[in-house]
Point group: C2
Chain length 454, copies 2
């Protein structure tokens, strides 16, 4: 069996089993990011941890950066402290702090103790920030110069540290005074046009824009919307420079955020789920969402239980109850999605519920009419009873209107009350529309009972 006949996944597995670190390095180096991620992910939990021990720390850190985050955390947590610290040490400052923050407390402390003094202090500072504020999104790899330096000194520094700065974004250097306060920004291209004996102070742009380390993601999005910059310096409450947030980091955080909205709307709660995670953790998290839903469902279905006599008289209604429940859910969820989008774009504010209601009113009348007519005709065609068509069609008509009005307003209301609309809008919507839908069908039916049974 030659290596060529094996998939990348199998090749990596062989190399890990054989303890061939150099082979692993060479293979991973040769693969595109998606193939590498897939091969590493296919190794399983123990294989991933073993792989990290076989690689040199720098390569291992690259692999950790590429892996899905829950896998990376688990793998690092399985290593001994020295090996883990060596890898964590090679991560960029933001990822390093994220990793330390994700490990359990004892492991984190042990790893931090192994780091160089300055790095350890950095990590302690960064792990103090939430992941969605400037402090948690910034990197500490940036160029910092003293306001009293000369252009010549800056250029000399750039030359001497070219290798270390290779991964830095060096469009700008940041200028601080003796207390560490940000006082200016130095455009690197201005260096080109300045005599080397000139002071940084004379060339820098004074009083630059900055953001506070505690600024939330939404504020950073606004900042980058307002400014064309590729990065912004981050200062603490005393005005001291503590990092740089890059535009691409904000865009990436927004992408993750949007992905989270989708997942939570589908009932994936309590954080990301990968099938490589322990089944009991996965099951418990999914059940925490399902158990709320089943209670709400039983609650809604109790409406049907209360109208059993009507249902007994017109058993055909039982066919339409799930249709009305599901279709109203569909209509309502469309309105939820539009409100979520308008909130994201900022064209609607959480308190402007009237505006959402107005925007859904004609929609509900129009789509309710079309859907109600359709289902009414189906009912008529099936049983040849116009009263059944009227009851079922009328109920869906009215309930579609209710669904879009509720769907349009619930995300705004939840947002206003500080709840997560992605998580809660769906269950609330379906409970309300189920209850109203069942009630409408069965009430209409009990009113029209003679015509239905006649």
């Amino acid at each position: 069996m030659t290596e060529d006949l094996l998939t990348h996944d199998e090749q990596l597995e062989h190399l890990v089993d054989g303890g061939d670190g150099e082979g692993c390095s060479a293979l991973l180096e040769s693969l595109d990011a998606p193939d590498a991620v897939h091969a590493v992910s296919s190794l399983g939990e123990d294989g991933r941890a073993r792989l990290l021990t076989l690689l040199d720390p720098e390569t291992a850190a690259d692999v950790v950066e590429q892996m899905p985050w829950p896998q990376a955390v688990t793998a690092v947590s399985m290593l001994d402290v020295t090996a883990a610290a060596a890898i964590v040490n090679e991560l960029p400052s933001d990822k390093r702090a994220d990793m330390i923050g994700a490990l359990d407390e004892d492991a984190a402390a042990a790893i931090v103790a192994e780091l160089a003094h300055e790095d350890a202090a950095d990590v302690r500072r960064l792990t103090g920030y939430a992941g969605d504020v400037a402090g948690g999104l910034m990197v500490t790899e940036y160029l910092e110069y003293s306001v009293s330096a000369t252009i010549g000194e800056v250029i000399a520094d750039l030359g001497e540290n070219a290798e270390r700065y290779a991964d830095y974004e060096i469009q700008y250097g940041y200028v601080t005074d003796e207390s560490g306060q940000l006082v200016g920004v130095l455009r690197m291209r201005d260096l080109l046009l300045s005599p080397r004996s000139r002071a940084v102070r004379a060339v820098m742009i004074p009083s630059p824009e900055s953001v506070l380390d505690t600024s939330p993601l939404a504020e950073l999005v606004t900042f980058f919307d307002d400014h064309g910059y590729f990065g912004v310096p981050v200062v603490d409450s005393a005005g001291r420079l503590c990092g740089v947030v890059r535009r691409s980091a904000i865009e990436a955080a927004v992408a993750e955020d949007r992905d989270g909205v989708y997942r939570r709307s589908q009932g994936i709660v309590g954080g990301e789920e990968l099938r490589s995670m322990p089944i009991l953790v996965r099951s418990r998290r999914r059940l925490s969402w399902l158990s709320v839903n089943i209670v709400l469902n039983i609650f809604a279905a109790s409406i049907i239980a209360m109208h059993q006599d009507t249902l007994e008289a017109v058993i055909a209604l039982a066919v339409f109850l799930p249709i009305i429940s599901d279709m109203s859910g569909c209509s309502g969820n469309q309105a939820v999605a539009v409100s979520m989008r308008e909130l994201t774009l900022g064209v609607i504010r959480p308190r402007e519920i009237g505006r959402a209601v107005l925007g859904e009113l004609s929609m509900g009348l129009l789509n309710g009419f079309v859907l109600g007519l359709l289902i009414g005709l189906v009912a008529l065609a099936w049983k040849g009873n116009p009263a059944l068509g009227l009851v079922v069609g009328g109920a869906l008509m009215l309930n579609t209107l209710i669904a879009v009005l509720v769907g349009g307003s619930v995300p705004l209301l939840l947002k206003r009350l500080g709840f997560d609309p992605a998580l809660a809008a769906g269950p609330i919507l379906t409970t309300v529309t189920d209850m109203c839908g069942f009630m409408l069908v069965l009430t209409f039916a009990s009113l029209a009972l003679p015509a239905l049974t006649g």
Copy 2:
């Protein structure tokens, strides 16, 4: 009534009504991006078009860039050709091409005819690209130098055009030969350390990484995963430099893509919907999704219709049918979301359906057991009939297993067949789980009929 008592929205409306362009400029300038977006959006369609005519073209272009895209396109399409062209001319190259591409053909041609020759050629070239390939995501604002130039000439150019380059990312300059082929990349910081008489050829990094103008978004994501760069040059099939794709543009495109996944999963199809769009367009798009769903729903409910006699005998079952339908949908959608996430992260491939099924098998058994037990106990408690509990609980147990297996595999299958999983997974899932769920409950019930009615 003083201006202070008015909201920003009302102030802007007053200024637009009064034709006060300078006032509008000043107000918008003073507002944060979200407040500005909200105020502009509140103006309504005619107000937004009028606002653009009142502002100078540069400010108008900034406003167009901030507005939600459908609003921007509508507003520009309402302007006369000269006004529209002046604004389009001030947009950055990527947005300019997007706008021209979004307008109807005649308007677009008229506007392009008003642009400067070079810009018009640029636009024609850029609009030829789809929005999700490198050509559609790149900007044409970049530094390009001839391989035969000297460092001194580059520095002189930077100095002379400092203002024009203000919005450029100038960490790198791109070096081309006489035929326009990309032959090197010039790190701007290397300029600092090179004698001015030196040739660009001697300082540049030769044979730089680049992407093809036809590279799709997924490939660009991979590229930036593999490389730490902030931008990458884009070349055509002949190797000629035609633009630069920035990392932040890719991250932003990914964020939009994720948002689209959420919206399509909730039934917002045919592109973005804002409530400011015409009601008939909005209604038609939503109905296109709802009509598919209602047909599938009727199809699924026909299972109930075929078992009317069983239902007639045990009317209590009608209460549980919507619960089983909804809960199976919830369980299945969780599995859909996990498969979507694993596809995004690259830990699973579309053909690895077996892996998804395996990952959901124990989940389905576990959660099915819990949910089935729960609903079974509720049924037992309600009617005091153990057979009813067994029928309903057993059906939900089994159907939960079916739901997670279908939910886990359908996104992979759709992806493999080239369909959009976000759009199609939901309806397919609920149709299958509804049919199976109804069938299970009613078949179990007909088998246990003596015990249920006894």
